[in-house]
């Protein structure tokens, strides 16, 4: 019962902000999109780039998530390997990813693949470190109970590891997702790889201020909706995973 009350209080605190932000972001975006389309710019020009970037972030996120969870769990099962590899991961995490963007662009014939690669090496770290931290702080008695009651093989993954790590995975994912959007815009501007980044660069360079502002608003709009519909909901749900 306590838990439900807490959740309710939480919603009360968040609601005024959420309503304000929704009006600001949703209202401004709709107005800008309407004006832009009325002034003769095709919806195609507005939405294609955004959709491409969104898909890139999604694909990179799914790959990062799977890799981070599997690597994180396997790594922490053996203390010796973990102590050996962790310093390397720490080093790699602080590596500036854009430094190798030109190299990746040379390697891959497809710019989309290059952007997705940059995204993966950006997004994977927060999730991986959250998973490693999560396994450290996970309760040993629950692991013992899972063993006693026969959670072996893939069932252990599905019914024990994933649920125990769920809160850590969500918090790591929120950070990774945010960094992913930052990286996708940056990479697309630099590499001219299509997507919203390239659209923004083009609009700026050709002096289409209104298009530029509309694209920015659209970007904010998508990120905002995703945060409040997906991440906030998952975060609320993950509260139940700890006693």
């Amino acid at each position: 019962m306590k838990n439900h009350t807490e959740n309710k209080l939480h919603i009360w605190r968040v609601t005024p902000h959420a309503i304000f932000a929704s009006f600001a972001i949703v209202g401004v975006t709709i107005a800008l999109v309407a004006v832009t389309i009325l002034s003769g710019i095709s919806p195609h020009e507005l939405f294609t780039g955004l959709l491409a970037s969104f898909l890139r972030v999604c694909i990179a996120f799914v790959i990062s998530l799977v890799l981070a969870v599997v690597i994180g769990i396997l790594l922490t099962r053996n203390t010796k390997i973990e102590n050996f590899i962790l310093p390397f991961l720490d080093l790699m995490q602080s590596f500036p990813n854009f430094a190798i963007l030109p190299l990746i662009l040379v390697w891959f014939s497809s710019k989309t693949l290059a952007v997705i690669t940059i995204l993966i090496i950006t997004m994977i770290w927060p999730i991986l470190f959250a998973v490693i931290g999560g396994t450290k702080s996970s309760r040993n008695d629950l692991a013992e109970a899972a063993t006693v009651f026969g959670a072996k093989g893939w069932r252990r993954w599905r019914y024990f590891y994933i649920p125990t790590l769920f809160p850590a995975i969500i918090t790591g994912s929120i950070v990774g997702w945010g960094e992913g959007w930052e990286a996708v815009v940056g990479a697309e501007i630099i590499a001219r790889a299509g997507g919203i980044g390239t659209s923004i660069a083009h609009a700026t360079e050709t002096g289409q201020t209104q298009l530029f502002l509309t694209l920015l608003a659209l970007l904010l709009f998508v990120i905002f909706l995703f945060n409040s519909w997906v991440w906030l909901a998952l975060l609320k749900r993950s509260a139940r995973f700890n006693i």
Binding site: N3, A145, P163, F241
Partner: protein, 246 residues
């Protein structure tokens, strides 16, 4: 049929991080009879939890042996934890069904088992609730129901009442005795409370610390139902108090 279900022979266990001569368990020998309520009693740090975890198969055996008779009994172990260890992300019902679900029992049968144990342990109306909604006593009822749902032959209990207030603990001890009398399984329970041991046990294994060794195995002849006002209760309490070196 042999009436021994479990024999522990020359069991020793040392923690690798400690000095060579520091054993958590040293040369432990005893056997448990089929259907008996066997209590391992000792002060904290005497290795009783380590012993139970070795029996549960949660830790690898280093030295000596733990033999189930017949060996298939090892598959019929179940456990109740001091900290309850119920899964916070599952409802009461799904917690109870965890073991059966791992063994792939079909949904209809699972539902029947869940309904049965929800009733049996007085959790009516809480089947769809999450552990965070429950009191400590209720959580341990879920822990017990989960342990019983897989129909164990050997029920291991690690200080199952020590995190509960005394009223809740007394009530749950009665329920455990009722269930044990009805289902005829073997119970091996760890505790540091002398009164609790006398109330429940057929036999009491007294352990001494550093290294953990068997001090003595005491036959508990106090007639059931027991209460702590019986003279025979006091007698065995005095005997055990002498024996347990804190």
């Amino acid at each position: 049929m042999n009436d021994t279900i479990l024999s522990v022979k020359n069991l020793s266990y040392g923690y690798a991080s400690e000095r060579d001569n520091s054993y958590a368990l040293r040369d432990v020998n005893f056997s448990v009879k089929r259907g008996e309520f066997f209590v391992i009693l000792g002060p904290s740090g005497c290795g009783k939890s380590t012993l139970l975890r070795l029996i549960a198969g949660l830790m690898p055996i280093q030295d000596g042996s733990i033999i189930f008779d017949p060996p298939t009994m090892a598959e019929r172990r179940s456990m109740v934890f001091q900290s309850f260890a119920i899964f916070p992300w599952l409802t009461v019902k799904d917690n109870i069904l965890f073991g059966l679900n791992m063994h792939g029992m079909n949904q209809d049968e699972q539902d029947k088992v869940a309904d049965f144990y929800v009733k049996e342990l007085g959790l009516d109306g809480f089947g769809e609730h999450y552990p965070a909604d429950l009191s400590g006593g209720m959580r341990q009822r879920v822990g017990l129901a989960r342990a019983l749902a897989i129909d164990p032959e050997v029920l291991l209990m690690d200080e199952p009442f020590s995190q509960l207030d005394s009223f809740t603990a007394a009530r749950l001890r009665k329920d455990v005795l009722d269930i044990w009398a009805r289902e005829h399984m073997t119970v091996i329970m760890v505790t540091h409370l002398i009164e609790e041991a006398i109330e429940l046990a057929d036999r009491i294994l007294v352990m001494t610390a550093r290294p953990g060794t068997v001090e003595s195995i005491v036959e508990n002849t106090v007639s059931r139902p027991r209460n702590d006002r019986m003279p025979e209760f006091w007698k065995i309490e005095d005997l055990l108090t002498e024996m347990v070196k804190f």
